[in-house]
Subunit: 411 residues, 4 copies
């Protein structure tokens, strides 16, 4: 790989901050304290409906996933926690060994994700299901997840519902909305005071006619109906094409309803590609709105990765996304806000845009390298990972331990 | 034109209603009482940014527009009111002559539409403008519109804002949201008690980076912030491609926030085509949700047309849209709801869908013809219009009176 | 189910044909001779990347699939052939027992579909793969498929390639195009003279950055480069949102390059829903272009279903799609083409559109029922299927025979 | 404006080129010789269908437009020619005074654009019109344009057709295709040998049901049918959302059918925003494909701007687009192609992508500044323009000379 960090680059960025009359140390601290949670399932083999292409190094157990997440944290310094999926990672309920294992590996258990979509009983929905027994089962799963999260020290309950219908007439849209409201209220009532409940939205897939929580407006109404600890989770890949995501972020911040992010990128549907691989400028603009909206009025936001793609090596893909997020935050912090406000106040469109572009085109990779070095890390996390031999080692270990993975067929 | 109504067709539909154990007279009454407002600007020449293709019969003055709207009402029986645009139709403020003229023509003034987008001062926005003087001017225009509407006996204030930005950085998204909130509250405070304020949303055009009220969620939040007489207006052409409009309608009904519709159709952007010309099944599903959501819990909904296209003759296009809406309402009323609920209760997807399709594929044009005949109208409004010679007559009159229209150039 | 066919309905449609001066028997014959191939994989369990919801009656073996396809043909009379996927249906190469079994069941083997996407070796592509060994393997699979098809009496080789890249830079787009050209030429050279090679296009999934054959233009160029027996296959679900599919069909007909269809419907991506479940008017317009483009200049077109959804019972879903296709063809045949041409010649937009709508709104289900009765079939195929008890019977048999299906996990 | 160029930046980029073993002078020459044509209509007031917001400095006559284009060329050094629209710029036919004026201003007349969309006679199309008289008129306009272009020394005939239909049934799609083919052949026959005819495609607007030349495949087939001097013109804003433009560019290059570009950006429809203002990474990838596809096999490509937006000052917007294009070309030239090919050859997705990103994130603005300085220009064209006082001066002059512009109304 040809990537080489310019040793003078960090200095140039810090000089620019000084020119703006800002405290470079504060910006460096903001970058060092930025935390991005990585998802356990992002280290496992996933695929499309047409099949999974297995990677020998893919994680199979929660312990493998923790090892991989720890490797990412060791290299980037900003991924101290791992989101877990209760169904896949705590199939038997809470297990203190997992928490201990994570602690020894240098990470901790982060957001608890429920799974009310994979089991056959959810064929017609979970919280939206017309059958009270299935709704009860889904609610119970969420209550169990809260209990597991509480024991694991987690403060985030992350809810994504695959619910919806595939054909007009399949079910009553308003009745499903009301069932959702009722179930969400029940689980909100069980939240411990320090736990936030995040509600994710998604326009489609796996439901293809209507999805019960299809957009941010639906998620916001349900969160408000559920209770004061509910917030909206923005997955950057869950929008209609051409929709302005940063505007939604700005509105959710203004409504104090933004709870967190799932980072990834997409071109067509919910492609779950690495963040910024398709539209880096949009990612920058999202960070710009976050910085803009929270610098004077802080808001707790959970930054999480949700990508699960099958071609890139898992850890490399995670390092790319996490590094990219940190670089974009750096660019957003570099925006000369007084100059921006000044241009806006003169309706100077070109001037205002150039303020944003000046920050966007500034290469912040050297700054991130400097942040890492101050944390005692290698400046180039990807190169360090490749140099570490980790991938080959675990590939061998895991293949030896588990044998080849099972193949699945589309039809 | 080959369209000929089958004389037995209405009888078959009424028999189907009887088979469902329903009162055919009640359905006929619902269809006869259905009212769709037509827009004054839909009778005038409009076009695209590439130019207007003028029609000799296009209306030039508010009096022409009233004449045309009255012709549509005479033929369809369900268009008793005309939406007006204050800027174009009451340029000098309220004019009682217009109200009298409408009454004599057989129609009345309906929704009052404000215009805070055409004047040069609104280049950077109206309610979202950073300049308090421009915001004041826009608010004053809305207050004037309320006064005009009150004098004209209107109960609908219809607000569409073209506000937005064209480039990242142009203005602060949250600041604009807050300015909107404040201005909307001010005009809400001036509403007479019987007037409803409708807030329209639209993803883009004429703003191309961000639009201040881009989706139903934004419109709903602003309407709730504005006050209890504010509702959301759904323009069927103002959505992201693939977005499920009927779900939005169902949610707005459930939230008691649906205030009205602008009917039209589109394929790509806000194409303002005649309703159902591209996707008639979607229009049916919207009516299905309306009937489903309001049959037991009525909600006042203002049905209005907003189409303004330049190729079809204006009145013919209006008759098509209005007739189509009535036909779709008839189909929605034909849905065998007990059978639908029964299929849904058995998770019988195919059965439930077939209930909807049974209604959709039933040809309701004969039923609409029967409704018209009971109202003393010709069964085929389009044929009756063509037979009337109206188009040729007013084309000649208007050309004589006003001369050829001015041409405009794109660049 | 409430669907009941109006006994007078067929008569009314035939009268309308007579009114147009056309031969009703000829239209009835066209409808009876219309043949739609059903896909073997459409009877098996399929799902989304989030999981498969298993159906007890789902086919597991090629024999089950043939049984199910035969059931659909018995009920609809227009599905005499079954498309097969070599990998899943002839895993050991050609097997004459399958052909015999199909013949005894009353159907025959239709289009041969290759599979160069599921095996792990195709992770980076098949014909587009930079590795000549993988390309060789993919070519060999296609040559084997041609041989199997020849032995099975098939005249269609149906090619869909999942090839593409997931990230910018992953491979060289033009080099891949050239590899495709070369491989397609090689397999074209092996075609027996009576066999047509169909090349399918698809904008995305499973590749998310670029797909090697992304649109009809690419498929057409590759088909022309491959040789004279190559044509383009239009899958109705493989287009960008808002793209005008009927125009593509019209152009491909005009270029004599339309080879066949995969019927299904979609709202967002390649949703593989039953045909017409989302946009029936578009399906009608496609048939209108087919009739319009081939009535004077016949073109062999292979009509095939490609839907594979996991919620509707497989056979019911297939009957819906096949019946819908036949109903839409009937509507397209009902278009009063002289009246249409006459309206077009006068630039009478409204008149021309009403000719199309007159046909579209005519309920052709009774006509299809009449066609079936003339073939000795039940008028309502779906009701007949439900009455037959087939679904319950095979569900029990298959569960007894194979046991419960294996579950798969997303991550 | 805060934009300040880092004086060491150019050196760093040149060092990187040297590291790759490449000749920095050659790259500098490629950047200096890059030529982007600006459009005369891009200096005039344009707007949306909702109105034009007039700018006092907007050009009114061809002479104003030449002045403005000359200002852009003086500042950027890479805009030596001006595309003209015959209808607006040569309304009376060829005028040698215009050519002389341009020469004295330091620019020349570039591509000749026809206009067969604005006049009322084109309401139902130009080359696609069913009326042979209208087609004749459109062909004659194109022949006149060729004559004017020949006299003006232009080698590009640029054809965009607004033709299409607004409603299903309005006209026969294949008949229109055939009319297009015939008309294009006629005008191709009149081309002087040195002139290239470029055919542009666009999915929609102003036609909303079907557009005769809707995509690159249609443009390519028509160009091949027209004759050997016809090529395809790619307007970067004329694609379906999510369509992969760089793939189309790569295919057109491979087919030797890419003739030129219209540069702009868009988020939703054909928004005509400044290039790179929404998706700069896509623009980079387009340049990457151009460099990749032509470095060993040169192809004449006409680079032109087509943006015409009404909020940004015209000249500033043009300088932004032109500078951006040059910066992206520089990034594309910086791609370490041997390293890229090496990563591709190892299926190293992450490594290959990082090669692209390394180039993309390199700030090439200092390099462009250096190129300008070598040409005797100011390094920052936008700052130089603002410092020049040009905008204020011509605003005053033009307002004095022409008075305020006429206002138009939407309805």
């Amino acid at each position: 790989m040809t990537q080489s960090y310019d040793p003078q680059g960090a200095r140039r960025v810090l000089d620019e901050l000084a020119r703006q009359g800002r405290d470079p140390d504060k910006v460096l601290a903001q970058l060092a304290n930025f935390a991005v949670e990585t998802p356990s399932w992002g280290y496992a083999d996933t695929g499309t409906r047409f099949g999974k292409f297995h990677q020998p190094a893919a994680a199979r157990t929660i312990y493998d996933k923790i090892d991989d997440a720890a490797q990412v944290h060791r290299l980037t310094g900003i991924c101290p926690s791992v989101a877990v999926h209760v169904l896949w990672d705590f199939p038997e309920g809470f297990d203190p060994k997992v928490v201990d294992y994570a602690a020894r590996a240098g990470v901790r258990i982060g957001g608890i994700n429920t799974n009310t979509f994979q089991a056959g009983c959810y064929k017609y929905g979970s919280f939206g299901n017309r059958d009270p027994k299935i709704r009860e089962q889904a609610v119970q799963h969420c209550l169990d997840s809260i209990a597991i999260g509480t024991q694991a020290g987690s403060t985030i309950l992350s809810l994504w519902f695959a619910d919806g219908t595939n054909y007009p007439g399949q079910d009553d849209i308003r009745a499903r909305k009301q069932r959702f409201t009722e179930c969400l209220r029940r689980i909100h009532a069980a939240l411990p005071p320090e736990m936030t409940m995040l509600i994710e939205y998604k326009p489609f897939e796996p439901a293809f006619y209507h999805t019960d929580i299809a957009d941010w407006g639906m998620a916001l109404l349900l969160a408000r109906a559920a209770g004061p600890q509910a917030r909206v989770l923005v997955d950057t890949g869950h929008h209609y094409v051409a929709q302005n995501i940063e505007q939604i972020v700005a509105w959710l911040i203004d409504e104090r309803m933004l709870g967190g992010f799932h980072f990834n990128d997409r071109r067509y549907a919910d492609d779950d590609l690495t963040m910024g691989s398709i539209d880096p400028y949009q990612a920058f603009r999202i960070f710009h709105e976050i910085v803009n909206g929270t610098e004077r009025n802080p808001l707790p936001i959970a930054y999480m990765v949700d990508q699960s793609h099958n071609l890139k090596p898992k850890i490399e893909a995670m390092i790319q996304t996490v590094s990219f997020a940190q670089e974009m935050l750096a660019k957003a912090l570099l925006v000369d806000r007084p100059a921006l406000r000044d241009a806006q106040a003169r309706d100077d469109l070109v001037g205002a845009e150039e303020v944003l572009r000046q920050a966007f085109w500034t290469d912040t990779r050297p700054l991130i390298a400097a942040v890492r070095q101050r944390q005692g890390l290698e400046p180039d996390a990807l190169a360090a990972h490749r140099a570490s031999g980790y991938e080959d080692r675990v590939a061998k270990e895991r293949l030896d331990k588990y044998g080849p993975p099972a193949e699945a067929s589309y039809a």
